[in-house]
């Protein structure tokens, strides 16, 4: 036997279990989901071919378009603040000598904790009658809010009713966002810290000698050098936030939230399948989500190769 064929029996035996599981529970169902999305499944009746009808219905369904919007608010609302915060934290952490590893351990705690459990802590903190947040507001003499139970938009609440309550993210969604910022910032800080440790120091020193202040050094030297790390964190977080489920489900007790105002795409898919048994419709939505994630992954792959390079 030649070198290329001698290993075949052993390779087949070693690969078979993995290929069976991944083929059976990832590749095949992926294709099957696309097929399911082309059918209608009337309750108790036989499936009927629907072509693109599920997709056409989806883009006209306010429940779907709202969930896309909610997903957008959620993604931008969590990623931008937690990246900004984690950069500042990592920068500070990088400059201190003592307590660094202890602080790192503490910052990482929210991320390693079982997400359902930590979401339930926050749900209790936001509880309108016995929660900490309203107790603090009460202590400061400010009127409490319904927080996770509040379907009205934050813009409406902040402008005292001037903006329509249906515009912008609901207060409930903002609470979900606050939780997610709390959960992920420490993780991002650790990633950025390792990024900061890998970039050369000379540029920063040179900029300082030339008289640049802290903010200008960060803006013109550190951030550009860190851009590959920032880009990686951003896109990975974006893909992750498109798939968020457990935290939203636990925080709002089912995922959809007050007036469906925390219903992200993932929750929309889950609700259609689990609550309404709309298998075809849910699969079509899932296929769209998958296409979106594939597109983002492709963009990441292209841009990492081309744009974010400083060496």
């Amino acid at each position: 036997m030649t070198r290329r064929t001698r290993d075949i029996p052993l390779a087949a035996a070693l690969l078979f279990p993995s290929l069976a599981v991944l083929g059976g529970f990832a590749l095949y169902p992926m294709v099957y989901a696309i097929v399911l999305g082309l059918y209608r499944y009337p309750r108790g009746g036989t499936p009927e071919f629907a072509g693109a009808r599920n997709y056409l219905d989806l883009i006209q369904d306010p429940a779907f378009t709202d969930s896309v919007l909610v997903t957008g608010y959620y993604a931008v609302g969590t990623i931008v603040p937690s990246m900004a915060l984690s950069f500042v934290l990592a920068d500070a952490l990088f400059r201190v000598k003592r307590l660094r590893s202890l602080l790192r351990t503490v910052f990482f705690l929210p991320y390693v904790t079982a997400v359902v459990a930590s979401a339930l802590i926050w749900r209790t903190l936001f509880e309108p009658t016995s929660g900490v947040v309203n107790a603090l507001l009460d202590w400061a003499g400010i009127e409490g809010q319904a927080w996770l139970l509040e379907p009205r938009g934050v813009l409406n609440l902040l402008t005292n009713g001037w903006v329509d309550p249906s515009i912008g993210p609901s207060l409930a969604l903002c609470c979900v966002i606050v939780f997610e910022i709390w959960r992920t910032t420490g993780f991002m800080t650790v990633l950025m810290l390792s990024g900061l440790a890998s970039i050369p120091r000379e540029y920063e020193e040179a900029a300082r000698i030339d008289g640049a202040g802290g903010w200008r050094v960060a803006r013109h030297v550190t951030l550009p050098l860190l851009s590959p790390v920032l880009f990686f964190i951003g896109i990975v977080s974006l893909i992750g936030s498109l798939q968020a489920f457990s935290s939203i489900y636990a925080l709002t007790g089912g995922g959809s939230g007050p007036l469906n105002s925390t219903r992200t795409l993932t929750v929309f898919i889950f609700a259609n399948f689990y609550e309404y048994q709309k298998i075809g419709y849910g699969s079509a939505a899932a296929t769209l989500l998958c296409a979106g994630i594939a597109l983002l992954t492709f963009v990441q792959w292209r841009l990492t190769r081309r744009r974010v390079h400083y060496s």
Binding site: L103, V106, A117, L120, V132, V236
Partner: protein
């Protein structure tokens, strides 16, 4: 200078925000219900109600939930280790036709979001008659493309001379794998094991969908159910949260340095 003081102040505030919900959880879990609802801000209970924990365990079958979770998580971890070691080794050291194509397809499965296979997999599980069984909780998670990739990288990192030397001594692939490659890849394998265990321990969506009976419920599902049925008893809810958090925190403090790698892996997978 003030810069340094400010930095410590800022970092201290960040640490306080990170840790406060946990401290509050512990305090609330030891308060009487009246105190917990009336004085949520107090961080030291008036009287330490240790029996809250016993009451929580009485209120819901957490022992059953934990049994199901640990059985599932341990089985998944062992299976993932086995499949990643064997497939990783095949891709790293063996020669066979379509190797590159197979590997590319394998990597592509990493990008498939779980939501899209949720419905088809649920249909498959019910057709197999696996609804409400351990098989449904375990089998779909027995291989992970990302872990195979990690194992392959670790095996590729072992210099070829080791294998040549072993072969001259009459050692075949399987013995080389068991005696030399696996021990040398230990750090990566620990990361893979942690990653598999935590993923299984923390899973909510899949167990929620494929189990219905209380006797098959895993901890995360049990906890969300407890929040709906007993959520008004805030102190007991926080006891339940403590009980669920403790195993992962224990692992975190035991294997901290591997945790950073495993979490970055989890982040990569989304």
């Amino acid at each position: 200078m003030t810069g340094r003081a400010f930095r410590y102040l800022f970092l201290g505030a960040g640490a306080a925000v990170s840790i406060y919900p946990f401290v509050w959880m512990l305090a609330t879990s030891l308060k009487a219900l009246r105190e917990a609802s009336l004085y949520p801000l107090a961080l030291v209970p008036e009287q330490w109600q240790w029996h809250n924990y016993a009451d929580t365990l009485d209120a819901a079958p957490f022992a059953t939930y934990f049994f199901n979770t640990f059985l599932t998580a341990i089985a998944v971890t062992l299976a993932v280790l086995l499949t990643s070691i064997s497939a990783g080794y095949a891709f790293a050291r063996l020669e066979f036709p379509f190797k590159a194509t197979l590997f590319a397809i394998l990597l592509a499965t990493m990008m498939i979001p779980f939501e899209v296979v949720l419905i088809p997999n649920f249909i498959a599980i019910t057709r197999l008659g696996w609804y409400d069984t351990y098989a449904a909780l375990i089998v779909p998670w027995c291989a992970s493309a990302f872990s195979i990739f990690l194992a392959r990288q670790a095996f590729l990192g072992i210099p070829g001379e080791y294998y040549d030397a072993a072969r001259i001594d009459g050692c075949g692939h399987l013995r080389f794998l068991a005696r030399i490659a696996v021990p040398m890849a230990r750090p990566t394998l620990i990361v893979i094991a942690l990653f598999a265990f935590l993923g299984s321990y923390n899973a909510l969506l899949w167990p929620l969908v494929v189990t219905g009976n209380e006797s098959m419920r895993v901890v995360q599902v049990g906890l969300t159910v407890f929040a709906t049925t007993d959520g008004v008893r805030v102190n007991l809810l926080m006891c339940a949260a403590v009980i669920v958090i403790v195993p992962t925190l224990g692992l975190y403090f035991l294997a901290q340095r591997y945790f950073f790698d495993a979490s970055i892996g989890a982040g990569l997978k989304g």
